[in-house]
């Protein structure tokens, strides 16, 4: 378990204090895949670097498995670092060494004999599916392959924690997906706790269980990924969620509707269980077709077996029939909002 308690971090530039992290409290459970998202400069890298002691907190405690890092000697810090793997956006592989030599480096540092090193390297190459690149140099590899090598290197000492700082930010969507799948496999097969820093919500959506959102060195929101996607509380979080699933009717479709004088537009929010029921047809059927529901647009995504999404509909009929249908939908746990003249959903 990783705990950060009242952690603050400042850098000093010409005696001037730059507060980078402010009162950070986090608990990350074993075998969790934990996402940290925020805009550039929010302090994400600084935060993740506290966990493997690349940075020291100015105040507050970083506690790993009950051990306060502040109480560790230099030697203990080094031993702890060997049990925490880290991968980076820029891969940080040694250009002067082959793939095999790169992966063997952490073992070399801990004094593992050559024979054992070779064995571990072969296993890891097998695991990341890069057996044929064993003697290649990093400059001969694609970005995705480089990241696989650096993942293999990070796993060499069988760490219990893997830190990923923008590990997929330099990769295309398909390669990103493959790397994320690999991380998931590491999490499941080797029981490794994974912490992912990113500025892409899609990364969190694919593999994280829990997440937090950072802004200006503060945590603005923290919790279960599905919950946060469904109920983004802060404006920053909403912006991030909107990048993956947009909660407004696209402006062109909206203008088109208004041109045709269609204005009974509602937004239905589907969360969790409501997706599994035939709520729309039920709403129409119960009134024996007194109303009509016309689907204008819909936006749905899946987050780890959960579907969440927005559907934009035009409901026509007598106003009290419409009201009744809306009440019915609300009872079925569909959150519903009407589009007002100003383009807001109320």
């Amino acid at each position: 378990m990783i705990e950060l308690k009242r952690v603050c971090k400042s850098f000093y530039h010409n005696k001037q204090e730059i507060k980078v992290l402010n009162d950070i409290n986090i608990t990350i459970n074993d075998q969790d895949i934990f996402g940290i998202i925020g805009y550039s400069g929010a302090g994400k890298s600084t935060l993740i670097r506290l966990i493997n002691a690349l940075e020291k907190p100015t105040s507050g405690d970083v506690i790993i498995d009950g051990h306060n890092l502040a109480k560790f000697t230099h030697h203990e810090i080094r031993q702890m670092k060997q049990k925490i793997g880290m991968i980076f956006q820029g891969f940080n592989l040694l250009e002067s060494k082959t793939v095999a030599e790169n992966i063997a480096l952490p073992l070399l540092l801990t004094g593992v004999p050559k024979q054992d090193r070779d064995k571990v390297v072969d296993e890891l190459l097998d695991f990341v599916e890069l057996k044929d690149k064993k003697q290649a140099y990093p400059s001969e590899l694609s970005g995705g392959q480089k990241q696989r090598v650096s993942i293999a290197r990070a796993l060499a000492n069988k760490p219990k924690i893997l830190l990923c700082d923008e590990a997929t930010s330099a990769l295309d969507p398909q390669t990103t997906r493959a790397i994320l799948d690999l991380l998931k496999r590491i999490n499941q097969q080797q029981k490794v706790t994974i912490i992912i820093v990113t500025h892409e919500m899609s990364v969190l959506k694919h593999i994280c269980n829990n997440m937090l959102v950072m802004e200006n060195g503060k945590i603005v929101e923290q919790g279960n990924v599905v919950d946060i996607f469904q109920n983004p509380a802060s404006p920053v979080t909403r912006k991030f969620v909107n990048a993956v699933i947009y909660d407004k009717l696209p402006i062109r479709i909206l203008n088109n509707m208004l041109k045709h004088d269609i204005n009974n537009i509602y937004r239905l929010e589907f969360l969790g269980s409501s997706c599994r029921h035939s709520v729309l047809s039920d709403a129409i059927m119960r009134d024996c077709g007194k109303i009509s529901i016309n689907i204008l647009f819909s936006n749905m995504i899946d987050i780890q077996e959960n579907v969440i999404g927005y559907m934009f509909v035009n409901i026509e009929g007598e106003s009290n029939d419409v009201e009744e249908a809306i009440d019915f939908l609300k009872r079925k746990q569909v959150r519903i909002a009407k589009l007002d003249k100003d383009g807001n959903y109320v």
Partner: protein, 225 residues
């Protein structure tokens, strides 16, 4: 007006050549060791370095700057008494070696420092994340990653050193520089002058070519295979 009479004998030429190689070789060897050592100390003790140490950094940095700012001839003569103290003479090829080491070590340390600073910070970051000791960072990360750049650095240093031995020739160190000065210049021996100039050009060309090739092959050996 061009005088082809010369005092230059093949024997004299080859002895001078040997003296130059001797001086360059020995002082390069010690200069490279010391210079690289200083450079590594500078890089790790610099502000935000992996073993930051303000006092150590400023002292070494200042000394190197001071020595580097003394013109080579003045540096060479000012160190000669030290040669006398150690080997009992301040004249000749052997006596010139100590001053040459004084000259070349700070020079090499600045060049090596630049090579080491070129190493991507991410590499050091990765080393730190792995829990590498300072020594391990230097040996397994910093130096291997700077290797091809270091080869060029030592090449430049060697060529600079050849120039310095020519200057040392003026204080009686022997070698090609001595030849050019004492025969070519003072005795108007054009053949001696031209021979030494051409010899120096050829030596420098050869060294630079080898250095470039070697550095390139280190940098590219993976792309060619």
């Amino acid at each position: 007006m061009f005088d082809f009479n010369t005092l230059l004998t093949p024997e004299l030429f080859f002895v001078s050549l040997y003296q130059t190689f001797f001086m360059v070789g020995i002082s390069l060897f010690f200069g490279a060791i010391l210079g690289t050592l200083f450079a590594v100390i500078l890089v790790i003790t610099k502000p935000n370095g992996i073993a930051e140490h303000k006092i150590c950094y400023s002292i070494l940095n200042t000394i190197i700057n001071i020595v580097r700012s003394i013109p080579s001839l003045i540096l060479l003569v000012s160190v000669l008494p030290l040669s006398y103290f150690i080997i009992g003479t301040s004249y000749g090829t052997t006596a010139a070696i100590l001053p040459l080491i004084f000259f070349v070590s700070p020079y090499i340390s600045r060049l090596v420092e630049n090579s080491l600073l070129e190493v991507d910070n991410g590499i050091i970051e990765a080393a730190n994340a792995m829990g590498a000791t300072t020594w391990q960072v230097i040996w397994h990360f910093l130096l291997p990653e700077a290797k091809s750049s270091l080869v060029l650095t030592y090449t430049t240093a060697t060529i600079g050193l050849i120039g310095a031995t020519a200057v040392a020739g003026t204080i009686g160190a022997g070698g090609i520089g001595d030849l050019a000065l004492n025969y070519g210049y003072y005795r108007f021996d054009h053949v001696a002058m031209i021979t030494t100039i051409i010899t120096l050009i050829i030596i420098v060309q050869i060294i630079q070519t080898i250095g470039n090739k070697l550095s390139k092959s280190i940098r590219n050996h993976h792309r060619e295979t």
